[in-house]
Symmetry: C2
Amino acid sequence: MLLPAGVRIDGRSGAVTPATGSYAKHLSELAGLYRDKAAHAAMVAGQDPLAYEVVDYRHQDSDLAFGTTIMAPGRVGDEFFMTRGHFHERRECGETYYTQSGEGILLLQSRDGLVRTVEMKPGICAFIPPDWAHRSINTGDEKLVFVWHCAPDAGHEYGEILEKGMRKLVVARDGRVEIVDNPNFVS
Amino acid sequence: MLLPAGVRIDGRSGAVTPATGSYAKHLSELAGLYRDKAAHAAMVAGQDPLAYEVVDYRHQDSDLAFGTTIMAPGRVGDEFFMTRGHFHERRECGETYYTQSGEGILLLQSRDGLVRTVEMKPGICAFIPPDWAHRSINTGDEKLVFVWHCAPDAGHEYGEILEKGMRKLVVARDGRVEIVDNPNFVS
């Protein structure tokens, strides 16, 4: 029988205690995500830094799971560290991202090509409607930590975003954060 | 079409901006909840204080809604201010309560009479499994504010808890918070 629990969330480190699972993505596992292939290859050949971790509290006997995503600060060329970006396999499933520390941009894209961004900073809970692809981008100098909530079986559909990219890029230009058209987007 | 949004949550006041709705419960609307009928009547005849408010960001086109609950500090007799306590109408729906400020106790009870408590304080996300009744109790001297997440159509089933009470009470005894058996519980 699934029992109640008090789950401690550290909004600075993103630690979840107790957690039911976690995974980490190093830059080497994110080939194809960044435009600047040479910069990506050089970083992978160097320290292959950790880009992000996901820690979860997930039980398939509930309709609701939660956890944290912990994104390192950094760039590959002029693009900030980002998650792969995905739709949910179960298209009826939405999600929320409640930022705990750091700053970033949540980039969203609908099936028919609408684009939206939501600022990520402490106190902002981003609402992701069902069937919007979403990618989070750490635009700050420190960790970006957010608490997510979604169905435990929402699933990840990475294919379309990996193949086509997203319509926008989030880049550093002259020390500023800019959201620009992705010249390589496959419409 | 349901659009993404950045929803600001004030962890001190519990304000949600933008919100889609809210309701407030004054003590007069919570008759029958407290053991000390005379104390309840006197408080209702006096200022009839606000006991708690619920503010939501809820769209029926998503599978996930969220919002805040803002509980005033206070007591009726030796019992701390509490929510009515409920099961979900849709028994497959769980919930989370992520405390933002203040302190309290989440009291939970399964259909077959198991009782659990979870400490409510900043940094603790309480996991409420499907089909566990849950009541939050403000045991502190300031507001207790928490962010909840659940299905927008989970629904509230108040009847059983209102009729029978819960198996435990959370009371002040000699300046301490104690969890004691409810002598009036109808098993």
